[in-house]
C-alpha cells in the first residue's frame, strides 16, 4: 500500500484560489503529490541533504543580520565585540551563525558518506556526486574564511596555522598564500579579502552550484540502495513527496533547529582577546575540526620526512585520495552489486575511518 493516507485536499476558495489562478499552485502541488520517495530501512539518510540545506539557509539569514553591524578591516574585532556584548541578541545571532556553520559542515559530510555508501553516485547521478563535492569544498572554504573575521587571538593564530595547508602545495603554494593574505602576514588586509570571499565570491559560486545540485536531485529522484534494488518491485515501497515526505523533512528541520538553538544558547560562541601578532600563539592552537585530518597528515609526514619531501608526500597522498574519491562514479558504474562495487565500499570505509582517526589523532597531538 503505497498511497498516502492523508486526505485529498478539497477545492479551496478565497486567497488560495486568487493566487492559484495567477501562479498555478495546484499544478505545483499535483506535481509534488505525484513525485514519490522510496521508503525503506535506510530512508533516514535521505534527510541529510535537506538538513544541510536548512543550515545553509540559517547561515544566509544570520549572516545578513551580522552584516548589518560587522565592519571588516582594522575595526573587525571591535565590531564583533559590539555585536556580542552591546547589540541586543547580537550574541545569539553570532552564536547561531557559528554553530550552524559547524553543523552544516557536519551535515554535508554525513550526506556525502550516506550518498557514497548507498551508491547514489552511479549512473545517471554522477554530476550530482561531483556538484556535491564542489559544494562541500565551498562549504569548507566558507568556514575557513569566516573563522578569521572576528580577528580574536584564536581566529588569528588558527588562520595562520590553517594557511600552512595551501602553502604546502608545490610551486604555487606561496603565491596562493600571498594573494589570500594580501601580504606576507595575516593582517587587516587579510580580513578585507576574506570578507569579500566570504560574503560575495563564495555565495556567487555556491548558489548556482546548489541550484544545479537540487535540479539534479529533482530530475533523477532519490537513489535506491543496492539492497533495495535487488528486491522485487512488489516488495519495494514509496511515499508521496507531498505531503508525506515533505512533512517528515520539515520534522527533521525542526529537530535541527532544536539542536542549533540548544547549542547556541547553552554554549554561546566565545570571543577571545583581540589578536596580537607579536604575542606568542596560545597553547595547542590548531585549525577547525574539519581541517584537522589534512593538517595532521601534513604534520605527520613533515615529522617523518623532514623538509620539502614530507610536504610533497603529504599533499600528494591527500590529492590522490581526493582524486580517487571524485572519480569513484567512473570506477563503480554498475547498477548491480559486483567486485568493483565491493571495492568501492571498502574504499569508503577506509576513507571514513582514516578521516575520523586522523582527526582524533590531530586533537591528541597538539
Amino acid at each position: 500500500m503505497d498511497a498516502s493516507l492523508s486526505p485529498k485536499p478539497e477545492p479551496r476558495a478565497g486567497v488560495y484560489r486568487w493566487i492559484d489562478e495567477r501562479l498555478g499552485l495546484s499544478e505545483i502541488l499535483a506535481f509534488a503529490r505525484h513525485k514519490t520517495v522510496p521508503d525503506h530501512q535506510y530512508s533516514f539518510w535521505y534527510y541529510w541533504g535537506g538538513i544541510s540545506l536548512f543550515f545553509f539557509l540559517v547561515q544566509v539569514f544570520s549572516g545578513v543580520l551580522l552584516l548589518v553591524y560587522y565592519r571588516a578591516g582594522s575595526e573587525a574585532y571591535d565590531s564583533v565585540r559590539q555585536i556580542t556584548y552591546d547589540i541586543r541578541f547580537g550574541w545569539l545571532i553570532r552564536s547561531a551563525h557559528s554553530w550552524s556553520a559547524n553543523l552544516m559542515v557536519l551535515a554535508v559530510f554525513v550526506h556525502m558518506f550516506s550518498v557514497y555508501f548507498m551508491k547514489a553516485y552511479r549512473k545517471p547521478r554522477e554530476f550530482g556526486w561531483w556538484s556535491g563535492l564542489g559544494l562541500l569544498g565551498l562549504t569548507m572554504v566558507f568556514g575557513f574564511s569566516g573563522y578569521l573575521l572576528p580577528m580574536d587571538d584564536l581566529a588569528y593564530f588558527a588562520t595562520k596555522v590553517g594557511l600552512q595547508l595551501p602553502a604546502s602545495i608545490p610551486f604555487v603554494g606561496k603565491v596562493i598564500n600571498d594573494i589570500v593574505r594580501g601580504g606576507p602576514e595575516v593582517s587587516a588586509a587579510t580580513i578585507q579579502r576574506f570578507f569579500a570571499l566570504h560574503v560575495v565570491i563564495l555565495p556567487l559560486l555556491f548558489v548556482p552550484l546548489l541550484a544545479f545540485h537540487l535540479w539534479l536531485v529533482q530530475r533523477h529522484g532519490n537513489a535506491l540502495p543496492p539492497s533495495e534494488e535487488t528486491k522485487p518491485a512488489a516488495e519495494r515501497h514509496s511515499i508521496p513527496f507531498f505531503p508525506d515526505f515533505f512533512s517528515k523533512d520539515l520534522g527533521m528541520w525542526l529537530i535541527a533547529l532544536n539542536v542549533l538553538a540548544a547549542l547556541a544558547s547553552l554554549y554561546p560562541w566565545q570571543l577571545g582577546p583581540q589578536a596580537d601578532p607579536l604575542a606568542p600563539a596560545p597553547t595547542g592552537i590548531h585549525p577547525e575540526w574539519y581541517f584537522m585530518s589534512q593538517f595532521q597528515i601534513l604534520k605527520v609526514f613533515g615529522r617523518w620526512f623532514p623538509g620539502a619531501t614530507g610536504e610533497f608526500l603529504g599533499i600528494g597522498l591527500f590529492t590522490a585520495g581526493l582524486a580517487i574519491w571524485a572519480l569513484i562514479p567512473l570506477f563503480d558504474p554498475r547498477t548491480a552489486t559486483g567486485r568493483r562495487a565491493r571495492w568501492a565500499t571498502w574504499i569508503g570505509f577506509i576513507a571514513l575511518t582514516g578521516l575520523i582517526v586522523t582527526t582524533i589523532w590531530g586533537y591528541l597531538d597538539v
Binding site: 493516507l5 530512508s43 550574541w91 520534522g251 529537530i255 540548544a262
Partner: protein, 488 residues
C-alpha cells in the same frame, strides 16, 4: 572535608553525576508511567477482544522489563556511587536525615521489581483479570517509590524552615516529615507524575514503530494514536504545574530565573534560564512531531522517528535536570550546605581557624606553616611561602575542597578560561571578592563564599596562578598528573 576529593578531568565530577542521572531520570520515570500504560492497554485489549493488540503489548512488556529492570536499576546504583564520590558531605546528610525514607523507598522498589517480573513471566499463564491486577500492583508500587524519592529530592532545594532550625543540633530526625513534605514537594510530585505519563507514551511509540505499517496499517495507526494521547495530560497541565513549582521556590532562588529573563538580550542571562527555555522549546517540538508523524500519519512512523523523539525527550530531561540543579545554586542543600560541601554554619569557624587546619591530607609542616597564629596577622609565614611545593600543594587542597565540585582546571567551567588574562595579583583580588561575599557581589547568587585564612587564600591564588599561567597551563588531564608532569 576529610573525604577524598574526586578529580574527573575534562567533564568534572558534576557531569558524571549529570550523565548518569539524566539516563536514570528518563528510564525511572518511564518505569513509573509505563507501569500505568501496561495494565490499561491490556485491559483495553481484553475488553475489545483484540489479540493483535495483546501481542504488541506483550512485546512492549518485555522491552519495558529489560529497560527498567536492567538499565534503570543499574543507573540508580550509579547515581549512589557518583554522588557519594562527588558530594560526600551532602550524601551523608541525606543518608542520615532520611534513613527511614530510604528504607520505605527500597521496600517499594523491591515490590516493583518483583511485580514487573511476575507480570511478564505469568503472561498467558494466569487468568487475565489477575494478570492485570499484578500490573496495577507494579504501577502503584512504582509510583509510590516516586512519591518517596520526590520528598528527598525536593528537600535539597527547599528543606523548609522547620528543618533548618534544627539542622546541626542532632535533632534533625524530629523534623523528618516537615523536611519530607517541604515547600516544593507537591508541585514537584505533580510535575514528575505528568512527565512519567508522557514518557510512557513516548516509549510506547518505540514498540508501535516496529509494527509493519504496510502489512498491518490499521493496527499500527491505532496503537500509535492511543499511545500518542498519553502525551496530552502532560502538555496541557505542565505549564500550570511548572508555575506552581516556581511559586513554591524561595524568592532568592527565583531571582536566578528573573535575572536571566531580564538580561536575555545582552546574552548574560543565567544558565538556569537558558536550560529552562531549551526545555520548553524541545517539549513543544516533541508535541508537534508526535502529532504530525505518529498521530496523523501513523502507518509510516518508523523506528528512526521513535529514536529521534526519544533523543529529544533525553534532551528535554537533560535541560530540565540542569535547570533544577542550577536553581539550587549556590547551595547543594538549600540555605544549609553550599555546593562545595561547606555548611553555612561552618563559615566563621573556617575563616578563623582555617579551612585546612583539620584536613587529613595536609603534611604536618604545611599545617604548621598555614596556621594563622604562627605569624603576625595578615603576614604570610616565610617558611611556607619560600617553599613553592608547600604553597602549591596547600593551594591544590583548597582547590580540591572548595572549587572542584563545580570547576575543572582545563575542561568544564575551566579555571584556564574563567581566569584567562589574570595575573597572580588579579587572581588574589578575585578570591578576596569571593571571600568577602558582599551583598552586591555578582558572584554571590551562584557561588559559595570562599572560606579560609588569608594564608590559605594566598596558597589558592598561587595554585590557580600555576594552573592558569604556569608552565603546564592548558594541558588536560587530572590535576595530580599535571602536577607530576610540571617542572619542579
Amino acid at each position: 572535608m576529610n573525604y577524598p576529593s574526586w578529580d574527573v578531568p575534562i567533564i568534572g565530577s558534576g557531569w558524571v553525576i549529570g550523565i548518569i542521572a539524566i539516563f536514570h531520570v528518563l528510564i525511572s520515570h518511564f518505569a513509573v508511567g509505563g507501569g500505568f500504560y501496561l495494565p490499561m492497554a491490556e485491559a483495553k485489549a481484553l475488553r475489545e477482544g483484540r489479540d493483535d493488540w495483546m501481542q504488541v503489548i506483550r512485546g512492549h512488556a518485555k522491552f519495558f522489563l529489560i529497560l527498567t529492570g536492567v538499565f534503570g536499576a543499574v543507573s540508580g546504583v550509579g547515581i549512589w556511587f557518583s554522588i557519594g564520590l562527588a558530594q560526600p558531605e551532602a550524601t551523608s546528610t541525606l543518608i542520615h536525615n532520611f534513613v527511614f525514607g530510604w528504607a520505605i523507598e527500597w521496600v517499594f522498589f523491591l515490590v516493583e521489581l518483583t511485580a514487573a517480573a511476575v507480570y511478564y513471566y505469568t503472561w498467558g499463564r494466569i487468568p487475565a483479570r489477575t494478570h492485570i491486577r499484578i500490573g496495577w500492583i507494579y504501577a502503584i508500587s512504582a509510583w509510590m517509590s516516586l512519591v518517596i524519592i520526590n520528598g528527598i529530592l525536593t528537600f535539597m532545594l527547599t528543606p523548609g524552615g522547620t528543618w533548618l532550625s534544627v539542622a546541626g543540633t542532632g535533632q534533625e530526625s524530629q523534623a523528618f516529615w516537615q523536611a519530607f513534605f517541604n515547600p516544593t514537594y507537591w508541585p514537584s510530585l505533580v510535575l514528575r507524575t505528568l512527565v512519567t505519563i508522557s514518557l510512557a507514551g513516548i516509549f510506547a511509540l518505540f514498540t508501535a514503530a516496529r509494527i509493519d505499517g504496510y502489512a498491518q496499517p490499521k493496527l499500527k495507526r491505532e496503537v500509535l494514536r492511543w499511545s500518542a494521547k498519553w502525551l496530552i495530560p502532560s502538555f496541557v497541565l505542565t505549564p500550570a504545574a511548572f508555575l506552581w513549582y516556581l511559586w513554591s521556590v524561595p524568592v532568592s532562588q527565583r531571582k536566578l530565573l528573573d535575572l536571566g529573563i531580564s538580561t536575555i538580550g545582552q546574552g548574560t542571562f543565567t544558565q538556569v534560564t537558558r536550560a529552562a527555555l531549551v526545555t520548553i522549546m524541545i517539549s513543544a517540538t516533541i508535541a508537534a512531531l508526535v502529532y504530525v508523524l505518529a498521530y496523523r500519519n501513523g502507518s509510516q512512523f518508523s523506528s528512526g522517528w521513535a529514536w529521534a523523539i526519544l533523543a529529544l525527550a533525553l534532551g528535554a530531561t537533560a535541560s530540565t535536570e540542569q535547570a533544577r540543579e542550577m536553581l539550587r545554586k549556590p547551595y547543594v542543600i538549600g540555605e544549609h550546605m553550599y555546593s562545595n560541601g561547606v555548611r553555612k554554619s561552618e563559615i566563621a569557624q573556617f575563616n578563623q581557624r582555617g579551612y585546612l587546619s583539620q584536613s587529613m591530607w595536609l603534611r604536618p609542616e604545611e599545617r604548621t606553616a598555614l596556621q594563622p597564629e604562627s605569624s603576625p596577622a595578615g603576614m604570610v609565614p616565610a617558611a611556607a611561602l619560600d617553599d613553592q611545593r608547600a604553597r602549591l600543594s596547600s593551594g591544590e587542597l583548597m582547590f580540591r575542597g572548595q572549587c572542584l565540585s563545580c570547576h575543572t582546571a582545563n575542561g568544564y567551567r575551566p579555571m584556564t578560561r574563567l581566569l584567562q588574562g589574570r595575573d597572580r595579583a588579579s587572581i588574589a583580588n578575585l578570591l578576596k571578592t569571593l571571600h568577602e561575599n558582599k551583598e552586591d557581589s555578582p558572584y554571590r547568587v551562584f557561588m559559595p563564599p570562599l572560606v579560609g585564612t588569608e594564608n590559605e587564600r594566598e596558597a589558592l591564588a598561587e595554585f590557580l596562578n600555576w594552573v592558569v599561567n604556569g608552565d603546564n597551563a592548558g594541558k588536560g588531564g587530572a590535576l595530580s598528573a599535571q602536577r607530576a608532569a610540571a617542572k619542579p
